[in-house]
């Protein structure tokens, strides 16, 4: 089996196959074209553009187009830009397997096909953790959905599944859920957060007040009520008191997970901390012909940041095709110290050579709000340290140059100074 089936129009081979036509995938494709490299973008959705297609609110596009756009307009501009650059886009094309080679097995409306590529860029993004994944009790009526599903219904289909839902979580996306509700004339009855602080930046709490959505902190959703349709949720507060909130829907927001089933099945090494692939400072996965970019690398960043990672990956792929990247056998691992409040460090591997244009910083997230001194240490030697004040959703950067300059083969541990 080579090439596309009748009607799919897929080529049998290409230089770079990009999986996922969101900001990262499209950003990479346009840059590859500019570098004179042929890129094919595959996306399983009927339309390219990724998640911003159904984020019908501001702000998107500052980094890419230097203006403030709504998600769907931003997605459209990304797609137009890719088309203008001559990128070949294949929607409704699901990659069902990634084989050595690399070779992609895909499913299209016309059946199964295969695509041979010199390099593959994975840009499959993230999704929210489902209610089942959170082990929430109660019944399983219809009307328990994610923000992503709500946005598709509201912004892509002009439909709404409920009128008075409870929103679970207080990440940035949770407030996007409020905006989506407002757009459709849905009035959330409560926003419920298990922690004692709003996870998103402070201004988001103001949005909840502005939109008259009551915030319930230190409150955990125990059960979903209603057999066929949602009738409410039972919550438990900090004092252990249980009560019910009447509602006709539940939106489980956030707790993003990189979309990795394809990678896992292909045997690529994954990082349990980030949930994404383990990569080096060039964005290379454990198979050096496979790169990753965008939110697949880690939960969760803005569209603009993901787009920039796509552009970055294009540069690294160009170097890789030209034979200008060091051997894949990067023998330095970077990881959080056991038991640390550091949730993950990306990249997870380092090659001890200086390559122009490689990642300048590692991206880090913490598990809880904290202040302290962040330390990267190897064999008792501090390679870098710096003061931090962070919370779970906030981006933390750790410069890689001091690590590459001083590290030896082995493991670099990252943690807070009092964790060593």
């Amino acid at each position: 089996m080579t090439g596309g089936p009748e009607g799919a129009g897929l080529p049998a081979g290409c230089d770079v196959a990009i999986v996922g036509a969101g900001p990262a995938g499209l950003g990479a494709a346009v840059r590859l074209k500019a570098l004179g490299i042929d890129a094919v973008v595959l996306d399983r959705e009927a339309e390219a553009g990724g998640i911003p297609r159904h984020c019908g609110h501001y702000p998107f596009g500052m980094r890419e187009f230097h203006r403030v756009l709504k998600g769907p307009d931003y997605a459209r501009r990304l797609v137009e830009e890719a088309q203008a650059a001559g990128v070949r886009l294949f929607p409704q094309t699901t990659v069902v397997a990634l084989e050595k080679g690399p070779r992609l097995i895909v499913a299209t409306p016309a059946g199964k096909a295969a695509l041979q590529a010199k390099r593959v860029l994975l840009a499959t993004g993230v999704r929210e953790r489902s209610r089942a994944g959170r082990l929430v009790g109660g019944n399983r009526p219809f009307g328990v959905i994610s923000t992503g599903a709500l946005q598709q219904l509201v912004y892509l289909k002009g439909a709404r599944p409920f009128l008075r839902p409870v929103i679970v979580g207080s990440e940035l996306v949770s407030f996007s859920a409020i905006l989506t509700c407002r757009h459709a004339g849905i009035q959330p009855v409560a926003m419920v957060e298990a922690n004692d602080r709003v996870t998103a930046w402070w201004f988001a709490a103001g949005l909840a007040r502005l939109t008259a959505v009551p915030l319930h902190m230190k409150t955990k959703v125990m059960r979903v009520l209603g057999r066929d349709l949602v009738e409410g949720v039972e919550v438990r507060d900090a004092a252990g008191r249980e009560r019910s909130i009447e509602a006709d829907g539940v939106i489980f927001t956030g707790q993003f997970l990189p979309e990795v089933p394809l990678l896992r099945a292909a045997g690529l090494v994954l990082d349990p901390g980030s949930g994404g692939p383990a990569v080096d400072q060039f964005g290379r996965c454990s198979d050096p012909a496979v790169f990753a970019a965008g939110n697949l690398l880690r939960p969760v960043e803005t569209a603009g940041w993901s787009w920039r990672e796509g552009v970055f990956a294009a540069g690294m792929i160009a170097r890789s095709l030209a034979g200008h990247l060091p051997d894949a056998a990067a023998n330095v691992q970077i990881r959080p110290r056991d038991g640390s409040a550091i949730r993950f460090v990306m990249p997870q591997r380092l090659a001890l050579s200086v390559v122009e244009g490689a990642m300048a910083s590692a991206q880090i997230r913490v598990t809880r709000p904290l202040r302290g001194t962040l330390v990267a240490r190897q064999n008792g030697k501090t390679l870098w340290s710096g003061r931090i004040a962070s919370r779970p959703e906030r981006r933390l950067l750790l410069p890689l140059q001091p690590l590459v300059a001083q590290a030896v083969a082995g493991t670099i541990e990252v943690g807070l100074s009092d964790e060593f």
Partner: protein, 475 residues
């Protein structure tokens, strides 16, 4: 006439089967194949809405059933017939075998008696295994295992398409299916029954009560007496991500107790890994809710047995209700004078035993002195395959594109499931036909598309169109 949906009916039937769970579907199939005019009466909007909604999907040999019991005979016969017909109906099977595992010395001491019991039940290929032999077969298991035995012919089956195709075959061979019809009352006039249903009267020669969790109540309203009382037993399950299926090959069974077969760890026909069920007595026949702490305990239990599970996410959780009774055995009682057969207390082995139960019930019916002429040209419909081991629609041309990305469900499959005599009328029904939204993302990626495709097809729509002023636009 192979009709889909009669509404109250002037036509009279030979047999009315009350309840479209797996047992009712199998009975309908048996009687249709034997030439009886059959009607299946179901109070819910879909088949498999009660006890058959949540089980472990295992095709049991009956090795641990009570020796000499009706349950054991029905399982053995059901098992045999499933293997005989499954290829003609395109029903899948995973030939995994099972390991019964002892985790303590006390459990290990009970293994020889269980092996003897298996032999007495005609399952003569079980063989004892040492802990080392078990670990060699299942390297992912915790090394705390003490010993066990192998049951080579315990298999994994598909709990959705099997009953679905039993009923579809019944319908294609002349049976009728009346759904959203609750049996309220009935009278036997010495020759025939008139059942009063919420959708009008149904005339039938014989009544077969396969109402599962409501079996005793149906007996009570039709016979004014019942020989058993249903005591619902809830079983909760957690379902791990498909990638976890690399951790095991056989069905992992605990040493059973008097009350329960215990918590199983196995692959499902769809490629996930299942841990469950619990066994919780309750009064409600309707409350299949799950409990967060119990789910967490099940997850922990799975990880204790199979440590590698810790690295995998939970994809789904669910609970099933088993129609248990005070008695251990099935409660299948016939009343020839009143042309009535009650099929009750099919507690946890119904999926394996259904075809055998159907054969047994047909035997009781023939003992009433009733005969029919089987159709000369039997039809063998094939339902759309949804198991991992089968060739799925997405790999074929003309599938109209994938809608549910996690389970690779195509638009063509969804549209097919929305049509025909067993058309899905709810998301739950569509899930059982196609597995749509049953994957890891639980609808994150496809709910919008699905709402559009199913518009106007469900009793309760997934979403309602609105305009900017907030008024619903009815389509």
């Amino acid at each position: 006439m192979a009709s889909g949906e009669p509404s109250g009916t002037a036509e009279s039937y030979d047999v009315a089967v009350i309840g479209a769970g797996v047992v009712g579907c199998a009975i309908a199939r048996r009687f249709a194949l034997e030439g009886a005019r059959v009607i299946v009466i179901e109070k819910a909007a879909d088949i498999l809405d009660g006890a058959s909604k949540g089980n472990s999907g295992i095709l049991h040999t009956g090795f641990d059933a009570p020796v000499g019991s009706l349950e054991q005979r029905c399982i053995a016969e059901g098992y045999r017939e499933y293997l005989e017909i499954r290829e003609r109906l395109d029903l899948p099977i995973l030939k995994t075998g099972a390991l019964v595992l002892a985790w303590s010395d006390e459990q290990a001491a009970r293994l020889p008696a269980l092996i003897d019991k298996a032999h007495a039940n005609g399952v003569d290929d079980v063989e004892p295994l040492s802990a080392a032999e078990i670990l060699a077969r299942e390297p992912g298991l915790s090394d705390r295992v003490r010993g066990g035995f192998h049951v080579p012919r315990e298999y994994v089956m598909d709990p959705w398409t099997a009953p679905y195709s039993y009923l579809l075959q019944a319908i294609e061979n002349g049976a009728s299916f009346l759904r959203r019809a609750e049996v309220l009352d009935g009278a036997f006039d010495g020759e025939a029954w008139t059942l009063e249903t919420s959708r009008g009267p149904v005339k039938t020669g014989t009544v077969i009560n396969a109402a599962g969790l409501y079996g005793d109540r149906v007996d009570q309203s039709l016979l004014k007496t019942t020989s058993y009382v249903i005591r619902p037993r809830k079983g909760q399950f957690v379902v791990f991500d498909k990638a976890a299926s690399e951790l095991l090959s056989a069905i992992l069974l605990p040493v059973p107790t008097e009350a329960t077969k215990g918590i199983v760890i196995c692959k499902t026909s769809y490629g996930n890994v299942l841990v469950g069920p619990t066994a919780e007595e309750q009064d409600s026949r309707d409350d299949a809710s799950v409990d967060g702490d119990t789910l967490a305990a099940l997850r922990a239990h799975g990880i204790e047995m199979l440590p590698g599970l810790a690295a995998f996410d939970v994809t789904a959780t669910y609970a099933g209700l088993r129609p248990a009774t005070a008695d251990k055995d099935y409660q299948i009682n016939d009343d020839g004078a009143r042309r009535y057969i009650s099929v009750g207390g099919i507690r946890s082995t119904g999926l394996s035993a259904a075809l055998g139960i159907a054969m047994h019930v047909f035997g009781l019916y023939t003992a009433f002195g009733l005969r029919h002429r089987p159709p000369s040209d039997l039809r063998w419909p094939r339902v759309s395959p949804i198991s991992e081991s089968q060739e799925r629609a997405w790999s074929q041309p003309g599938n109209d594109g994938i809608v549910c990305h996690c389970e690779l469900v195509t638009r063509r499959e969804i549209e097919a499931a929305l049509c025909g005599p067993l058309a899905a009328a709810s998301l739950a029904a569509l899930k059982r036909r196609t597995r749509v939204t049953m994957g890891r993302c639980q609808g994150f990626y496809c709910l919008g598309e699905l709402a559009e495709i199913t518009a106007g097809r469900f009793d309760t729509p997934l979403a309602t169109a609105y305009d900017r002023r907030g008024y619903d636009r009815r389509t």
